[in-house]
């Protein structure tokens, strides 16, 4: 579990963190979202012990960072945004070296190295020096390095930012599989990735937590249900829109040529009555879709509100 209470970090006059609060439950995959400069990397650096907070409290896997930061390294795995390695080493040698540092036996190290290289798709490059690795390969290698000792808490800073679509899918699937096995805190600015794997989302702006909530609850809370319909004739769609204005559950109508967008206040009633109304009016629809708000919509809504304040 990760617990952050009123965390501050100042760099001179700049407040990178301004009273951040965060709770990451055991076994969850926590998506840490925020615009550039919001304080995501600073938070992760503090949680790994690489930086110190100006004030506030941070606990990772039951370890109070201010009191006992030393024992932290055996409990956490960390993937920085741009992982770096010794260019003269091969991935196999590097994982073996980390295994030794974590006290794994020779047999355990050999097995774990093989497992991890296969897991991150680097088995074929296992004997190649890392100096020639692409950024994507370094990111996958960084993930393997973070997992070598099966940590309780995994801290990932933009873990898929350098990967191509297929690499991104593989790594996200891998992170998704860690749910329940270890606690994952993953920072990202790619909202679709967070939406795909994270079950809890925290949105940070200006060094403060704007909202943190289970992903589905967040979607529900900030959902503005919209139904989108595409008709054959714009004129008939306009006529239908004029009629829909009088329905009590319709809160907003927006017509763009063939497309009519209806924002509703009561989803259940809309589901029952909207299509019936179209049939009653003889409207021929080529598309009917209940739109789901994306995490991106919620993110922009919340962050813009925070910045405006």
């Amino acid at each position: 579990m990760i617990l952050v209470e009123n965390l501050h970090k100042h760099y001179g006059a700049v407040h990178a963190l301004d009273g951040l609060n965060m709770t990451v439950e055991i076994g969850s995959i926590y998506g840490f979202l925020g615009p550039n400069g919001a304080g995501k990397t600073t938070t992760l650096r503090i949680l790994t012990g690489l930086a110190r907070s100006s004030s506030g409290k941070a606990t990772v896997a039951g370890i109070d960072l201010a009191k006992d930061g030393r024992s932290l390294s055996s409990r956490i795995g960390y993937l920085p945004e741009e992982p770096a390695f010794y260019p003269w080493m091969t991935p196999g040698e590097f994982l073996d070296y980390l295994g030794k540092l974590h006290g794994l036996s020779t047999a355990e190290r050999a097995t774990r190295t093989r497992e991890l290289l296969e897991l991150v798709n680097l088995a074929e490059s296992g004997k190649r020096r890392m100096g020639g690795f692409s950024r994507g390969m370094r990111q996958r290698m960084g993930l393997a390095a973070a997992l070598v000792h099966r940590p309780e808490v995994l801290l990932l800073d933009e873990p898929v930012s350098a990967l191509d679509p297929s690499g991104r899918k593989e790594v996200l699937d891998l992170i998704g599989k860690l749910s329940g096995q270890c606690t994952v805190l993953m920072s990202s600015h790619i909202l679709a990735d967070v939406e795909r794997v994270c079950n809890v989302v925290g949105i940070v702006a200006r060094g403060r937590m704007v909202v943190q909530s289970p992903r589905e609850a967040l979607m529900q809370q900030y959902a503005q249900p919209v139904f989108e319909m595409e008709g054959k004739e714009p004129a008939s769609m306009k006529r239908w829109a004029d009629l829909l204005k009088d329905y009590p559950w319709v809160s907003k109508l927006n017509q763009d040529n063939h497309i009519l967008r209806v924002t509703v206040s009561d989803v259940e009633r809309a589901r029952k009555e909207l299509l019936a109304s179209a049939v009653g009016q003889g409207i021929i629809l080529s598309r009917y879709q209940e739109m789901r708000p994306s995490l991106e919509d919620i993110f922009l809504q919340l962050v813009n509100h925070e910045v405006a304040q």
């Binding site: 790994t48 690489l50 390294s73 055996s74 390695f85 070296y97 540092l101 390095a145």
Partner: protein, 253 residues
């Protein structure tokens, strides 16, 4: 203990990145060339055309002392230069690249991180100096006379200690600096300061430069000692490494 695991990695690094090869090659070349230069220099001077009559006769015959002096002069210049070049990036480069922050989130204490680097550099310089000394001893025996083993060994030990003062000072600069360039600049200032203080009358007795003179005297059968410089050099190594650790343990990466 993780220090040994990290030290092993550092030693492999010194080998694979060819740092050991560079230090050994430079020191061995100058180790071999020193007695040769001492032997040939008078002949080379005498062969200069148009040398005034009688001047050639004034050039003394080369001696064992010339071979030892040449060796110490070469080693003191190139050894110190190598100490600076090989150590300046050791910590700064890792901070710049990001490998330091990557490694320090694993069970690597900041003290072990620094100590392993210093010990690995000490091993590289000790091994290179041993090879260089063997070469110098062999060529001196061929061209002049056999050097006394014990005192010659002591001379090399004292030179190694002087090099390690510069290694520790440069390691401190590399720890304080954020980039290799800054580390190199700071290390050069440190070198000038140590060498500058060492050239001042009275103070020179306490500085590492004096160790070269003591070793030379010892090899040639002299009775001069420089125990204050010896102890102060040890103190300087401990002090520089201690400050480096104090700085590094508070440093944010």
């Amino acid at each position: 203990m993780n220090l040994f695991i990290i030290l092993r990695k550092e030693l492999i690094q010194q080998w694979r990145t060819k740092h050991f090869l560079i230090v050994a090659a430079v020191l061995v070349v100058f180790g071999l060339a020193s007695p040769l230069l001492a032997k040939l220099t008078p002949d080379l001077l005498k062969s200069i055309p148009d040398m005034p009559a009688g001047l050639a006769d004034m050039i003394p015959e080369p001696s064992l002392m010339d071979a030892v002096t040449q060796y110490v002069n070469n080693m003191s210049q190139f050894g110190i230069l190598l100490a600076l070049l090989m150590s300046m990036g050791s910590v700064a480069q890792e901070k710049e690249r990001g490998t330091a922050s990557m490694m320090l989130t694993h069970p690597v204490s900041r003290l072990s991180f620094l100590l392993a680097k210093f010990i690995a550099l000490a091993v590289v310089f000790a091994a290179s100096l041993t090879l260089s000394a063997l070469g110098c001893w062999y060529y001196t025996m061929l061209l002049f006379d056999a050097l006394p083993w014990g005192p010659f060994l002591a001379l090399n030990g004292l030179m190694l200690m002087a090099f390690l003062v510069y290694v520790a000072a440069t390691l401190l600069c590399s720890t304080v600096a954020r980039s290799q360039g800054t580390a190199a600049g700071l290390a050069f200032v440190a070198l000038v300061l140590i060498a500058g203080i060492g050239s001042l009358p009275r103070l020179d007795e306490y500085m590492p430069g004096r160790l070269f003179r003591w070793g030379t005297a010892m090899t040639m059968g002299g009775s001069e000692t420089a125990w204050p410089a010896f102890w102060i050099s040890i103190g300087m190594i401990i002090l520089f490494l201690g400050i480096a650790w104090l700085v590094f343990r508070r440093q944010e990466l």
